[in-house]
Point group: C2
Chain length 367, copies 2
């Protein structure tokens, strides 16, 4: 079963193309697996992404890109990637000449996302890029333009969109299961360890907001299906803490949406949070934890009764679902449900959040 | 047992007076009960306050003030209040001549709090005033000045300060039980029924913020023990809803405190909320519900373990505790833990919240 529903996978296309795509689907998706090159062999790539190709129906790992030869050797041997399919960053543009590589997955520090995504597009490869899409709106726009010019797909690694509890929460929230939504609260944070690129602004582009607060922002957007029209943010950072010399610790941000929904959001590098709540006129939908790698828990209050809502374990986990979704979009000619425009939308809000925090004003967005 | 600890009751006094007060306490508090006149016989007064004099050690109901003769008859008969101790608003100033009345409890619509509190002080009576203390900072200051001039006590009806779970939450939060506090979330709201004075700005002074959002604000202040230095607010109100012709529905407000703690707060007249969470560096303290008349529930996450924290039922409920606390302050010469200055502090922030919401700026408070 495809993780993305047909409607979502094909949502960006016209009706005529939808029918053609639907007709071509069964044979196309069963004929071959899309080959991915993983760009950047850090913890997330090696522990979360690479092991999950084993659970994919339409994606396979075919190449590795790293600046560390020992990592290329280690993971190349582990995953059976021949020397011809292992690349240094100096070699990176040569992926153009490797027909086994259909797509790259950019899992580099944030400030390198734009460059390595654009070079992939220029090499004719489809692009999966980890969140945050980039460190600025301008970079996001350049990435979208490069992929459009090259005719390649661009998808952002918003894995929660392929996780069943989050998909159910979206369905329930947008379907007014607890009445029309009035408020959303969304909170993400952890206590960050020192001495890593995430705390080095030239590589990260920012602090907790870029890394973990973006989950709160993205959840507020996907639970409403709307784009905020007003943003206010307050930052609180102890810059004497050696972790926070160049990046922010805590950000509290509030979003107002066109329908009147207000989202109160938290981002933190010094306290633990992982959850959101959708509060409607008749009750609420609570997820805590909401966006871990596994172990989501949902509680619903409706008609005066508070009860857990439990789903059966999915056939495919969120990581495999995400990898397969881009593969299916490539095979079927569809648009990913989290395309570059989705990453751009988050960066637009993040830039407004930073500006509101710095300038002590609330920011109007949109028309 | 006194609900207020000795330290809190006597916190406003010098050490020498504290000793004198402590020595005088046992005999003074056992000698007689403070007589209260209830001003305004609405639902809260008749259902929550008046029945709870039965649980008081130091307070008794001795007089009633109402504009509705039938209510004076009904509740006068029910509580054995003689006709000589029943007053109309026209008669109100005659409480001066009734030595049985030590204190009044003002439970009128918000816009009448200042006038009836000041007139009570001018009649030489101590004052308990329901929250919000008044509808403006200026009114609060006038109330404080009037009570100071008359030499009478002034206390605001913040009942949660006499409720054991909230008292424990304060102790745990300020004592860094889950590490130093980083964030507080506090949410209060309900779906309001139409056609009541709370929805009529001339009587209420404002919408949800004045009535229910003040619980979120007050909790953020009592859980930190600090006064906010920065305030940002976003309002969301559907003024085509007949309930919200003159007052606001939803307010989201964020407070930054001097220690860096940030509080994300919700106030709503169209969705149900009652809770707060204190998030420290090592875990969190969650209360949901936090401020109902009864049934508080606390959950603590610490050292990776999430568990409920249950307290034995108190000997005295929060309503009796509140009534007794002013009585003890009168008998012992102490300052209430929630004096007029506490109500004023909330109104200062509420005015900043309204200004931030209206003017699309963040507001700096304090020095």
């Amino acid at each position: 079963m495809a993780i993305g529903s047909r409607r979502e996978i094909l949502g960006g296309l016209g009706a005529g193309i939808m029918l053609a795509g639907a007709g071509a689907c069964a044979s196309a998706t069963s004929s071959r697996k899309i080959g991915y090159a993983i760009v950047g062999l850090g913890s997330y790539a090696t522990r979360q992404i690479m092991p999950n190709f084993a659970g994919c129906d339409h994606a396979r790992l075919v190449a590795l890109v790293s600046g560390t030869p020992a990592k290329l050797d280690q993971y190349g041997a582990q995953y059976g990637i021949p020397a011809t399919h292992r690349y240094s960053y100096a070699d990176y543009d040569r992926i153009r000449d490797n027909p086994d590589i259909d797509a790259v997955y950019v899992v580099l520090p944030n400030a390198m996302h734009a460059e390595y995504s654009i070079r992939a597009a220029q090499a004719g490869k489809h692009v999966m890029c980890e969140k945050p899409m980039a460190t600025s709106v301008a970079e996001c726009e350049a990435m979208i333009a490069a992929c459009r010019k090259a005719g390649t797909k661009l998808m952002i690694g918003y894995r929660s969109r392929f996780e069943p509890y989050n998909r159910l929460a979206i369905e329930l929230a947008r379907g007014s299961h607890v009445g029309p939504t009035r408020f959303i609260t969304a909170e993400h944070g952890f206590s960050i360890q020192p001495n890593q690129w995430r705390l080095d602004r030239p590589l990260s582009g920012g602090g907790s907001m870029m890394d973990i607060g973006i989950y709160s922002l993205n959840a507020a957007r996907y639970l409403t299906g709307e784009e905020p029209v007003e943003v206010s943010a307050i930052e609180s950072t102890d810059h004497s803490d050696p972790r926070f010399r160049t990046v922010e610790d805590r950000v509290s941000f509030v979003l107002r949406f066109p329908s009147g929904i207000v989202a109160n959001c938290i981002s933190s590098y010094s306290s633990g949070h992982n959850g959101y709540r959708v509060i409607g006129t008749e009750g609420w939908i609570d997820m805590e934890p909401a966006t871990p790698y596994a172990g989501q828990a949902m509680t619903i209050r409706k008609d005066g009764v508070t009860a857990p809502r439990t789903l059966a374990a999915p056939a495919k986990n969120q990581f495999a679902g995400q990898l397969d979704h881009l593969a299916e979009s490539i095979l079927n000619g569809g648009t990913p449900i989290v395309p570059g425009e989705e990453g751009l939308a988050d960066l637009r809000v993040i830039e407004a959040i930073y500006r509101s925090a710095a300038e002590r004003v609330k920011i109007r967005l949109g028309a």
